[in-house]
């Protein structure tokens, strides 16, 4: 069974201790995040970044390192989401300096990301 956006959204809501509906209404999730569609890395980056903001974690100011990613501008609506989760060490590129915007995440990768949201020590620097 493929890991879906809805699976991830449910896990995020659980992590925030709110119903998934509230996570949507509070802006952490978008309406399209409540669907049984495969979870892409760019969507995960957006949800994770918004989750961090919801939790009160500030953005990293220096994200120049992220601009070295070859595909960073492939998604101009999610440049900053990708930059933040990359620089914070929560999501790593799928291959050398390629984030892999449209690649799908596995259950295992999603678990790893969720762990790093709440546990800064697990993040990769």
């Amino acid at each position: 069974m493929e890991y879906t956006v809805l699976d991830f959204s449910n896990r995020i809501a659980e992590l925030l201790s709110v119903p998934v509906d509230k996570a949507y209404k509070s802006g952490v999730l978008e309406m399209q995040d409540l669907k049984e569609t495969p979870l892409t890395r760019q969507t995960a980056a957006r949800i994770v970044h918004r989750t961090l903001l919801y939790l009160g974690e500030h953005d990293e100011r220096n994200v120049e390192k992220a601009f070295l990613l070859k595909d960073i501008y492939d998604c101009h609506t999610c440049v900053m989401h990708v930059a933040q989760v990359y620089v914070k060490g929560i999501m790593k590129p799928s291959e050398d300096l390629v984030f892999g915007m449209q690649e799908c995440l596995s259950d295992e990768e999603a678990n790893d990301i969720l762990l790093k949201i709440s546990n800064k020590e697990k993040r990769i620097n």
Partner: protein, 612 residues
Amino acid sequence: MKTRTSRTNPEPLKGKEYEYSSFAEGKAFPEKKTGLLPAMGWNSWNAFGSGNTEELAKMTADKFIELELDKLGYEYIVLDDGCYCPERADGKLTNEPVKFPSGFKALGDYIHEKGLKFGMYNDVGTNLCAGAAVGTCGFEDVDAKSYAEWGVDFLKVDNCYYLWDNATFSKPESAKYTFAPKIKGIRVTGHGQDFSLRAADSAACELTGSVGKFDDEGNAFFIGTTDGTNVGTTPVGEQSSELVFYVNTSEEGLYDLFVTYATAQEVGQGEWLQIAVTGEESGSDKGLEENDSKIIFDGMMEATPSKDAFTVSGAFSIKLCKGENEIVFMNHRRQENTLNSYAAMFYALKEASPEKDILLSMCEWGKTNPQNWGYKVGASWRILNDITFCVGRDGDPGRGSWNHPGTQSICSQYNKAVVMDEFSGLDRGWNDPDMMVIGMNDITRQMSETHMVMWCMLNSPLMLGLDLRRVQKGDELYKIIANKELIALNQDALGVQAKRVFSTLEENEPDTAYIMDDNRVDVLFKPLSNGDFAVSFINLSTEKNEAVISVSLDVMLDFAGHKCVNLDKLEKASKFKLKNLITGEETVQEGRMFSAGNIEPCGNVTFRVSVC
């Protein structure tokens, strides 16, 4: 009703006016209203990203009235991405119910009741950039009716998920539509003659333009059009390459043409090919002008097993005249397809709202060099990817930049727009260097002032991109965005974008040289409708420029005198009244040399000049 586009291939071009060969004619489609000045308003993207809401849009409309921005010319309130449901409902666009609970008609009414105009957003692809699967591709007529019902006055149309190019989120293999196959050579037979010509033979053919290349074996590829999305590709001059073979025949008549080619689905080597024949009489049977070209093929070539496996095509029947003929291999579909897509939306809006001119703000990021063709249907065309990627959200103003190696800065956008003045005008439309970043974090007062000067001098659409709750009447930000004298330059009835007449880094061609080194001072000259002109000294450097920069009016007139309404008077004038448009100071000057010194970092000195 269908919810997904049924389009599987680029559509045939609907007429000569859609073809590349018509781009230089400068004739807008007859249905397009011309003579409009740059749009002024507010767009939600820089301020709130996809987190914009009905509440925030209403608040912005309220602030327009409170700040009296409407009296200064700002009129459009534009909802950018993030406002629709992620899927169509019964084939139609619908409002995202949490963010926009009252629906778009009600919001449009609210905005209209304040005397303002209502703008929305969509995309020529299948999806919007933020992901919602509600792009206009194949739904232009349905969506145009929705926009008409909602009272929309302005439509920004993006380019994500575009099917016929390798745009953002498009499949990389869509490059097959935008580049011709790699060509090794041709054979032409008939009337007892047999010509075998190799691309590698420079005596037999020519590769025009700057994008085309030869590989190590002399085969021609990159036959297509440059990608202008990122910085560094000049918008000036020829943007496409064609491979032209010269065939000299002894007899007029029909010949067979065979092409040796190899296809791929990547940038530089595609599958779509256009072939044209140009000879003294080639078009005569179609009633075309002498020497006009006749397109004899416009479509996909049969794919080859690999990108290096050359094959010989079937025979194309071509008519050649006695003497020299040109057989041209090209692919202008990158531009033609994008025009076709924007035109589909343009005509759908015309049909849905025949009494109303809904402004079409084209946002294909300069990818297909819209400065060449956008004037046909668009009020304006974006020239690059975004000015900032650090967009804000409710409670966070986001960040802008003064300069950056990518597109995401004020100077990055300015550096390209400043050499694009010949592409803009009342009869065409306007170059769009993106929504402004005034009021975002990291943008100082000095930067904001100069940003406003740049956008006004360049006749750019003035779309505010800040959370207007940060502005109070009379405060620093207000004084910048409400500078009537600067807005008057942007909205001057003559409609002439300023020309760069001097740059400390370019002696010979300051008007057309695409300069990306920001350590410089530029001087811009803008003729105005009442015979005045504006001159602006812009220090792009983050260091103070202590030197005095001087430019003679004679030099300015050499570059742009033909655009002035009173050239005779300006050529003789020796005494001028100068008004500094930032400080308001007025002075009188004897002599034709205009100067400024000690220009602050990221600063400017801008005068409106009248002949005394």
